[in-house]
């Protein structure tokens, strides 16, 4: 199968803490790949490394064979890496304008940018909120602004950091199909989620991180029956992983 992203030996230390250590994996083109792990496992740090907001201490990141490791974040975005943030912080402007911001990289005229932004808002079903300020929206809607903004960069790979966290069950049910819909539109997805049911329902493969290391990788069924994963989640010392 065709690999979109290849990560090798990626390492990030914060002082003495190895937030990400020697992580290697591939993301296959067109898949929905889940990333799980206990709090502080290093998932968000891994996203920061891939999107370029943090520089790695070691290792390499390749998208379609091109080395991203030394590129600044804006170039990685242009190459096709999009992401959302765990803590949603919409820009202090209308919902439509939030989505226009990244579109300006491709269309310089405000009019064209507006049209494109509107199309994306329709996709995430926020078109009725276009002229509202994000602060007046629900958390679920604000998370969809995050997704819309990231989609506006035309990503090949979309990194979603807990887009379902903090939502009530009916909101989860509303936002979940969106992830699959985005994938079906041709975007490969790597997503972090704590909600196991949701994760298992839509991901084809799952990566498991614990204390900076990748401890398992496989189908949802394989991963949930993995002894290392079970011990990691139960918080015991893993015997031999």
């Amino acid at each position: 199968m065709d690999d979109l992203l290849v990560v090798r030996n990626l390492t990030k230390n914060f002082g003495g803490l190895a937030a990400v250590s020697e992580v290697s994996f591939e993301v296959r083109r067109g898949e929905i790949l889940g990333l799980i792990g206990p709090n502080g496992a290093g998932k968000t740090t891994l996203f920061n490394l891939i999107s370029g907001l943090l520089a790695s201490n070691q290792g390499s990141i390749k998208l379609e064979g091109e080395d991203l490791t030394k590129m600044p974040p804006y170039r990685r975005s242009a190459m096709g890496v999009g992401r959302t943030f765990q803590v949603v912080r919409p820009f202090d402007m209308t919902v439509l304008e939030n989505v226009m911001v990244p579109i300006f990289a491709h269309y310089k005229s405000a009019k064209e940018a507006k049209g494109k932004a509107y199309e994306i808002l329709e996709m995430v079903r926020l078109e009725n909120m276009a002229d509202s300020m994000p602060s007046s929206l629900t958390l679920a809607q604000r998370k969809r602004i995050e997704v819309a903004r990231a989609l506006a960069t035309k990503p090949k790979l979309l990194l979603l950091d807990e887009v379902l966290a903090g939502l009530n069950p009916s909101e989860v049910a509303e936002n979940l199909p969106l992830i699959r819909q985005v994938r079906d539109s041709g975007v490969t997805i790597l997503f972090i989620e704590h909600l196991m049911d949701a994760m298992m329902a839509i991901s084809e493969r799952v990566l498991v991180m614990d204390q900076g290391a990748l401890i398992a990788c496989g189908t949802p069924d394989e991963v949930t029956s993995d002894q290392c994963v079970i011990t990691a989640y139960l918080g015991e010392e893993a015997p031999e992983c």
């Binding site: 820009f91 911001v101 405000a110």
Partner: protein, 327 residues
């Protein structure tokens, strides 16, 4: 309907402003208006990096560079200030290039501190480089009236020049804010990391904002010096007049907005003059006490500046626009 009303109001305002010198022959009133226009322009120029959340207290550097460039060319080499306008703009932009290093590398208050230091260093240079600047004595613009010398026998031409500058910089600021650069700056101001991850070269955006801001400040400074005839390091690189005052105007009026600087300059310029001349004679620096109190009040009670109090009016206008788009 509403847009028509705005156009009519703007036209009346424009005619009124154009007619002011014809009705008020008092030099004091004309001077006050001229000063307000200069400060609207300076504040609107200062405000451009503030779209991106960058707070400078060193704009006196650009002011001084522009003012000295044109004055030295004129006084020492006899070159017309009309050419000096370009020289002043370019010199101030070169200063902007230098300040762009801390601008891009330093966050929040650290950039602000660097900007203060930058202006202070240039003030020292202006004092010490006697062969060019006449040191702390300064340069006098000889009184030789004529357009080529930007020297006039009445205050009227400068009233219109300053009005023109104010309108020009407001329009530019408005255009920048609604262009790609403006959106990128506003995104960077709200969340620099998110902006970067969305493909924005935030360093480049901040750099261009500073180029606009420094160049415009230098250009305004050239006119200002020829309006005042004298130039010495303490005034040209004055922290009080050209670093703090625009920043104060910006905060009080509404930082990072198009109309904030206008409102701020209209309120603060006469007040600043009053405080400097009347309180300054009682005790030097007393004006800063008043500024400090005003700042505390605004930051606590109207953090968005006075313009945010007028937001309902602007909102109405906005929804009018969007419904026009839906049709």
């Amino acid at each position: 309907m509403r847009t028509n009303k705005i156009i009519v109001a703007a036209a009346i305002l424009a005619l009124g402003l154009l007619a002011v010198p014809l009705y008020f022959t008092s030099t004091f009133i004309l001077h006050m208006f001229t000063l307000v226009f200069f400060y609207i322009a300076l504040t609107a120029a200062w405000n451009i990096p503030a779209f991106g959340g960058k707070f400078s207290l060193g704009h006196a550097a650009f002011f001084g560079l522009g003012a000295y460039a044109a004055s030295i060319l004129y006084v020492k080499y006899g070159i017309s200030p009309l050419i000096g306008i370009f020289a002043g703009t370019v010199c101030a932009m070169l200063g902007g290039v230098i300040l762009s290093f801390p601008l891009i590398r330093l966050k929040g208050p650290f950039f602000t501190l660097a900007s203060i230091a930058f202006a202070e260093v240039l003030r020292m240079v202006a004092i010490d480089w006697r062969s060019m600047t006449n040191g702390s004595v300064g340069l006098n613009i000889p009184f030789k009236p004529g357009w080529l010398n930007l020297t006039f026998t009445s205050g009227m031409p400068f009233y219109y020049i300053a009005l023109g500058l104010a309108v020009l910089v407001i329009l530019l600021a408005w255009w920048i804010r609604s262009s790609a650069l403006g959106y990128h700056l506003r995104a960077a101001a709200a969340d620099e990391d998110a902006a970067k991850a969305l493909g924005i070269n935030t360093a480049k955006s901040h750099f261009f904002a500073l180029m606009w801001s420094s160049g415009l400040t230098g250009m305004i400074a050239v006119f200002y010096v020829f309006y005042n005839y004298v130039l010495e390091p303490g005034t040209a690189f004055s922290m009080d007049l050209f670093s703090l005052q625009p920043a104060m105007n910006g905060i009080i009026g509404g930082m990072g907005t198009v109309w904030g600087p206008v409102i701020g300059a209209i309120i603060m310029t006469p007040l600043g003059e009053f405080l400097r001349f009347y309180l300054g004679t009682i005790q030097q620096g007393l004006n800063f006490v008043v500024y400090g109190l005003m700042l505390i009040a605004v930051v606590n009670f109207v953090p968005g500046g006075i313009v945010s109090l007028m937001a309902p009016w602007f909102k109405k206008k906005k929804s009018g626009e969007s419904s026009a788009r839906d049709n």
